[in-house]
């Protein structure tokens, strides 16, 4: 089963709960030099009362054709056949940041040891039938992890406001 992270931007308020849950799950301490895997932000386009405001939460999109995989000179990244997540083993990571240059969503970060780290979709949890930490915590169910089939179904039904990415480049 292949999964896709979906963000319903109408339900997101950019609160950061997902980002905190991610740090809790992955023991990330940004002040000690860890990068964050997930970021929340607000984009205000225009200054009038009804001008659009978008709240978002972004992390690795686990692109179908993930450009980071080809970008890595050491072969650290790969697709997990079971979940479709873009997973990694950074034993041979040389800290060259090539994956960062390949990623359209600024997902790869580099930790205290200079090696690449990023969202792994909470793959161990998902394998056990649990939700990723960010999805589990979301107070408004704005973030979800859906199967490829469900995603296509939702798209066919044109359920509004769905947002998911597959990298174009």
């Amino acid at each position: 089963m292949s999964y896709i992270f979906v963000l319903d931007t109408k339900r997101c308020i950019g609160c950061g709960a997902c980002a905190v849950a991610c740090m809790d799950q992955n023991d990330l301490e940004p002040r000690q030099g860890d990068p964050v895997f997930r970021r929340c932000f607000t984009v205000e386009k225009g200054e009038n009362k009804y001008d659009p405001v978008t709240y978002m939460s972004m992390s690795c999109m686990h692109c179908k054709d993930a450009p980071c995989i080809q970008g890595c000179p050491s072969g650290c990244l790969k697709k997990d056949p079971e979940t479709g997540f873009t997973v990694y083993d950074n034993t041979n990571c040389i800290g060259c940041h090539s994956c960062a240059m390949a990623c359209p969503f600024a997902a790869p970060g580099f930790g205290r040891e200079g090696k690449m780290v990023k969202c792994d979709g909470c793959i161990e949890r998902v394998r056990q039938g649990l939700q990723p930490a960010c999805v589990k915590v979301c107070p408004y169910q704005a973030l979800s992890l859906v199967s490829q089939e469900e995603f296509e179904q939702r798209n066919r039904e044109k359920k509004a406001r769905l947002l998911a990415y597959t990298a174009l480049i």
Binding site: T54, M58, P67, Q70, N92, I94, M101, F105, A106, L168
Partner: protein, 422 residues
């Protein structure tokens, strides 16, 4: 059952083999390689030489046996290919010749060594192959080196300089260009990097045309001698095109070759059934629309993948790429996107730990230099590439927000193709 030949087994060759196997589970894939090693990444030489990477680590796709098993390949590891007969689609080795349905030439590139430099009688190291890396590593382990000169302010050169410097060797980097990374960096960015390098203790010499390498060091055209007990030559690479050059499309007419083997969007040469991918070929440079060598690991992978699909009969296109580079050295990041020699109005953005400079020609973003802040580079690269493929393409709201989250200003985001935001 189709018969495929892959000549040369690096990044492009591996990805082609994988793409073929993905599309054609039963076809026969014959791989010709004379290195006797699994696909190797030349970018990792300096990491191996500096002992930051193990021997297994330089082979990103595993051992030859693993790759052979994974993709069901037929390996011809000890037979250099002598000739490719294009009309017959025939690969000739000393053992004889064999016909194929499709042939990929993925012979890569080699370190450039102008003959004239050898005239001085001095030894020098190169940094392209595993043997090069092993050689430097062994030498450093067994010899006392006090002074070293790296010829060539290239992306490899800087990493060699770094590894020597980190061993406490007094290191000089010399380049004929007026500043560092002239093919990727603006002068302003280069000078900022140079200042940091000098601060770190590296000696830099520019406009330094090398005459010869002598036993005592590097002799410049100006007559000056840069003393060294160790010299490493890192002035660039040359595509391995000889095999293609021997290939005739029709009697008396060769495969088109520039600096590399010229290919189209399907990675096809102008000889039907013969493809080329990776560092040996010239793909399309999106910014100029012309073909050019873009000698990058990821580019080789994408080209190999595209070639493989086409060889197996799938309609794949690789629309090309832009010049782009990321180099992490001395705890710094330099990222160059697009051709810095293209014209454009420069805009400089500075933050606490980074500078980003861009060149805009009208509304068109022509190039970007990032010093620090590696994390935004992928968004900019994807934005730049997308706009070249589709002039109207904008950064997505998510990308705009991510750039802001990484400290970039609203003005910057708007300039490079975002919306006006607060």
């Amino acid at each position: 059952m189709k018969n495929y030949a892959i000549v040369g087994f690096g990044c492009a060759g591996y990805h082609a083999a994988r793409a073929i196997r993905g599309a054609d589970p039963h076809g026969r894939i014959a791989v010709f390689s004379d290195t006797g090693q699994p696909p190797f990444n030349p970018m990792l030489t300096t990491y191996y030489a500096s002992q930051r990477l193990s021997l297994e680590g330089v082979f990103p796709f595993g051992t030859l046996e693993e790759v052979e098993r994974e993709l069901s390949l037929e390996l011809h590891g000890d037979q250099p290919v002598l000739r490719v007969d294009a009309r017959a689609r025939r690969v000739e080795t000393q053992a004889g010749g064999e016909d194929f349905d499709a042939i990929l030439i993925a012979t890569g590139a080699r370190a450039l060594v102008p003959e004239s430099l050898r005239q001085g009688g001095g030894d020098f190291f190169l940094m392209r192959t595993l043997a090069d890396a092993q050689g430097l590593r062994d030498h450093l382990d067994s010899h006392r080196v006090e002074k070293a000169v790296v010829v060539g302010g290239s992306m490899v050169g800087i990493k060699v300089a770094e590894l020597l410097h980190r061993r406490g060797i007094q290191t000089t980097m010399a380049d004929a260009a007026p500043y560092l990374f002239p093919l990727a960096a603006y002068r302003s960015t280069a000078e900022a990097i140079e200042a940091r390098l000098r601060e770190a203790g590296l000696k830099l010499v520019f406009n330094a045309q090398v005459s010869t390498i002598e036993p005592g060091g590097v002799r410049l055209v100006s007559g000056e001698l840069l003393e060294a007990d160790l010299v490493c030559l890192c002035i660039g690479t040359r595509a391995n095109v000889e095999l293609a050059a021997n290939t005739q499309v029709v009697e008396g007419q060769g495969v088109r070759i520039g600096r590399g083997i010229v290919v189209d969007e399907r990675m096809a040469t102008d000889c039907p059934g013969v493809y080329a991918a990776g560092d040996c070929c010239e793909g399309i440079d999106l910014q100029t629309g012309k073909t050019a060598i873009i000698g990058l690991w990821a580019n080789a992978g994408a080209q190999g993948d595209c070639a493989g699909r086409n060889m197996a009969g799938l309609p794949a296109r690789y629309y090309g790429n832009i010049l782009h580079n990321i180099t992490h050295f001395f705890d710094m990041d330099f990222i160059g996107l697009g051709d810095p020699r293209l014209p454009g109005q420069r805009h400089l953005f500075q933050g606490k730990n980074y500078t980003v400079e861009i060149a805009l020609e009208g509304e068109r973003l022509n190039s970007v230099n990032i010093f620090g802040n590696y994390r935004i580079s992928g968004i900019l690269k994807s934005g730049l590439t997308k706009r070249l493929l589709d002039g109207g393409a904008r950064l997505t709201t998510a990308q705009q927000g991510l750039l802001r989250a990484e400290g970039m200003s609203a003005d910057f985001v708007e300039l490079i193709g975002g919306d006006r935001a607060l």
